[in-house]
Amino acid sequence: MTAEPRLLDETQLPRLEAWIAAKAGADRVSVVDEGPLSGGAISLNLAVTLEIEGGALAGRHEAVLRTGSATGVSASLGKAQEGMVLRAAFAAGALAPEPLFISDAGGADDALLGAPFYIMRRARGVAAGRKVVKADQPQRELAREMGRQLGLIHSIKPGTAGLDFLPMPEPSPGLQCERDYRTWMGRFAGTDPVLAYGLRWLTLHAPPAGEVVLCHRDYRTGNYMVDQGRLTAIIDWEFAGWSDPMEDLGWFCAASWRFGQAGREAGGLSDRADFYAGYEEAAGRRVDQEAVAYWETAAYLRWAAVAIQQGMRHTSGTEPSIELALTGRMLPEIEQDLLRHLDSLAGHTLFGRTA
């Protein structure tokens, strides 16, 4: 194997070690940089091992240092904020990787690595969608567990300490999302009639304002880790925000994240019924199927908006990348999934209006 470039240079490494030592009340800390992990298109994940002498966290910890890449997409949280979301999810009992150290937002900590960051425990397993869904039989228990975990995440409500930076949707989650997606799409909302129609549909069929909870907002196959068929961690929290809890269910079940297992509608794992049952068990809230159908429409528009932004990161010249470029050209397939979904709803009534 060729040596991977070290991302922490010789001046950053000792400063990071001193920073961790101060945070952990430790006598001495050494950080071993094990190179980048394959991560999302928006974040940089570095495998590190922390050797901590003294203090409450004394010992050896396999961890991940997560920081931002050069340009993000509009919806993504800063890494310090993402760390705070992770802390709340971990405290709620969800299988989020435990955050160990979070850089202080807007403070001197930003200068340490040039951007906000946090360090979390490293989970074992694979996240890659194709590997996760590969199974002869439906993965009913895993689908149920994904439902339960989502129920735990949704127990986090506005007012939770440390999360006051997350904006509240106005006047309702559906209408807020429609406005956000339109903004993120930029000129494409006026030149692509499928997007224009989808956005109009979201406005016409928006559920009335109701309860809002912490939504992960990228809760899907590909964003959780599985080891020997068992869930080990839910990752990629950078889009989290207050919303209608049914938003995450619509996203999880969207056709975009089944990785070839189209018939297993709950994330390529199993039937929706298994996922919904786990959710109701842990959330103490019924699944509202009309709302899930609405949010599945929203899912395709949100994914379209993100794909547009990924493509623009390349096209604008800020981050030339064949992967980002090809993501921009995924729009027609996302739109085909949107049209199929809308066809499946035609004639049904959603929130008092015929779809």
């Binding site: 909302a189 006026g190 030149t191 692509d192 009639p193 499928v194 224009a196 129609y197 956005l199 109009r200 016409l204 064949i322 992967e323 470029a325 090809l326 050209r329 995924m330 729009l331 027609p332 397939e333 739109e335 085909q336 049209l339 809308l342 066809d343 035609a346 004639g347 015929t354």
Partner: protein
């Protein structure tokens, strides 16, 4: 403009064919994902260069978007008509970006 041959489509086409037949099989495993993305990108470019855009249709698209925004297609029967047009447009774009996803109708 002097007409040089082969044209862009011809060049992309032979570049893709050569890359796929001669280079791809020799690419080491850790570069295979990137190599497949190159195949994908060249394939899209080749199909786009071969496509015949319908200029008259394209000229009407911005107005169609404004009409949709303004609610001109809100009535259920108008939505059904609109959806037929949207399917056609989407299938034409899919034929370029990812024709494997085109199901026979």
């Amino acid at each position: 403009m002097i007409n040089d041959e082969p044209d862009a489509r011809g060049l992309v086409s032979i570049a893709l064919q050569t890359f796929r037949d001669s280079v791809l099989p020799t690419v080491p495993a850790e570069r295979r994902f990137e190599a497949l993305m190159i195949v994908n990108a060249l394939g899209i470019a080749e199909r786009e260069l071969a496509a015949k855009p319908d200029a008259a249709l394209e000229a009407r698209i911005p107005q169609l978007c404004s009409d949709i925004d303004a609610g001109a297609y809100d009535a259920p029967e108008r939505q059904a008509d609109l959806r037929r047009v949207l399917w056609e447009l989407t299938r034409a774009r899919l034929a370029i970006s990812n024709p494997r996803l085109l199901n026979p109708v």
